[in-house]
Symmetry: C2
Subunit: 285 residues, 2 copies
């Protein structure tokens, strides 16, 4: 379906991600429309040629005409939007998203959705430390992962269309995981790392520490500058998987503390060698 | 004393740090000698003009002639060296070091040292992910901190000479802390961050995680590639301060986990805002 550029794409939520999707897809010649909260976002996107038309209200025509609808909203806003407005979708429309958690969203939406519309979930693992459509870029997806999370409700066609979308957008790795595998992975690689960074940043408020800070501490706390509204919602939306990852971390950290207290040098060295070996796997290829 | 380039400097332990000291100080015209374990290190340093002479044994003449002796050894090797060889120091010699922990080293050495020789401790907070004299560089100290940790046993002259050494080496910030303040600071900013990185790297061995890794996880685990011999010794040498910092971290991390379990969104957002504000202090100036 995607390769047919006569199809119309609607992006709901024109922020950094939605805007970057529009920027890339417009280049292929698709007709792109957008629905978002702020008129200034629409104005910017029209001026820069990211979209063909846009609205700050739920413009029925835009929804009805769309063959593919991409949701780039906060999880609970996404769910509410579908509840209220799904009667507007064109029959046969394909729905996808960019939500960073899956298990708590995908089944809920597939359960409530009309039979003649299909939702195939995806997580583009890309971001920047800035937000808003004005920071959109068509370079954000190079080197990044695009993960499609199909369920039993999805058709093979929808899965391949969604994967094709990821490749069109320029993602370097396009792959599939189950919603549960996705949530465990994201709980560990992304959410746990953010939990650690904000904890490190707030656990010792002694003054003047910044005078002595080196690169290690800066690296570990770069992501401690965090969008509190979005991340608190994402944490709660992935609670079981994230709590499990936090427990794995706490247990290992307590092991290390116990070895230190007992001056178990050999135990610590073994952990450090394990760490060194395993880190090599994670080097940029 | 330092500004007088007719004085002779001996560096004991010619690795990355010792070699980098030599490289910078040689440029000022000092006579530099070195004692280290490997002949290949001496050969390299002579060939590259980092030192004037060197030995792999405790060459009595080199020690007896030195006005300033800089120790760049592992903590326990440093202490043993002083025990065995301090009778060789020239009367009036000044001793300094590069050891990354202070409380467990400084008092011990000052206690055992001859009355006519002074030990003023310093910690150059600089390093690279590579080691050995072959990786020496005269650029490593720009932007970095050099911390002198005087005690009641030190003379004001020794403190200012040591601070002048730090400035000659090119450190951007030269300052003093008590050994205890130093150990708390280093326990938090450096050792705790390494504990976190190696824990994160080893707490979940699930396969294929590296396929989905992004910059956040890579940033938090860069220092998980670690010299196990050196860091296990440094951890134990700073045990009380490091355990205290680990406890601060664990308590805060458990607070966050409790808020997540109770879905206390407002509590989590408050912690994230605190983290965001505090991180701004630590930006590179």
């Amino acid at each position: 379906m995607i390769v047919d550029v006569s199809k119309k794409i609607l992006i709901v939520g024109l922020g950094l991600l939605g805007g970057s999707y529009a920027k890339v897809l417009k280049r292929f010649g698709f007709h792109i429309s957008a629905i978002t909260l702020e008129q200034s976002s629409i104005d910017y996107a029209l001026r820069e040629g990211l979209i063909d038309e846009g609205s700050v209200s739920i413009d029925e025509r835009l929804v009805k005409e769309a063959d593919l609808v991409i949701f780039a909203l906060y999880p609970h806003v996404f769910v509410e939007w579908i509840e209220k407005n799904q009667h507007l979708f064109k029959s046969g429309a394909l729905i996808t998203d960019v939500t960073g958690v899956k298990g708590s969203i995908v089944y809920k939406i597939q359960e409530m959705l009309r039979e003649d519309v299909e939702f195939i979930a995806a997580h583009p693992m890309a971001g920047r430390e800035v937000s808003g459509v004005e920071n959109s870029t068509d370079k954000m997806f190079v080197g990044a992962n695009y993960i499609v999370t199909p369920t039993e409700k999805n058709t093979p066609e929808a899965v391949s269309t969604c994967m094709e979308l990821g490749r069109l957008l320029g993602f370097s790795n396009v792959t599939t995981l189950s919603p549960e595998e996705h949530d465990e992975m994201i709980g560990f690689l992304s959410q746990l790392t953010h939990c650690i960074a904000i904890t490190l940043m707030t656990c010792n408020d002694k003054e003047n520490m910044e005078r002595f800070t080196g690169d290690s501490f800066r690296d570990l706390t770069r992501i401690a500058r965090i969008n509190d509204l979005m991340w608190s919602e994402l944490f709660v939306a992935n609670k079981p998987a994230l709590v499990e990852q936090m427990d794995l971390f706490i247990n290992k950290f307590n092991d290390l503390k116990r070895m230190l207290e007992q001056e178990d040098i050999e135990g610590m060295r073994q952990m450090m060698r394990h760490s060194t070996q395993r880190r090599a796997l994670f080097d940029k290829k």
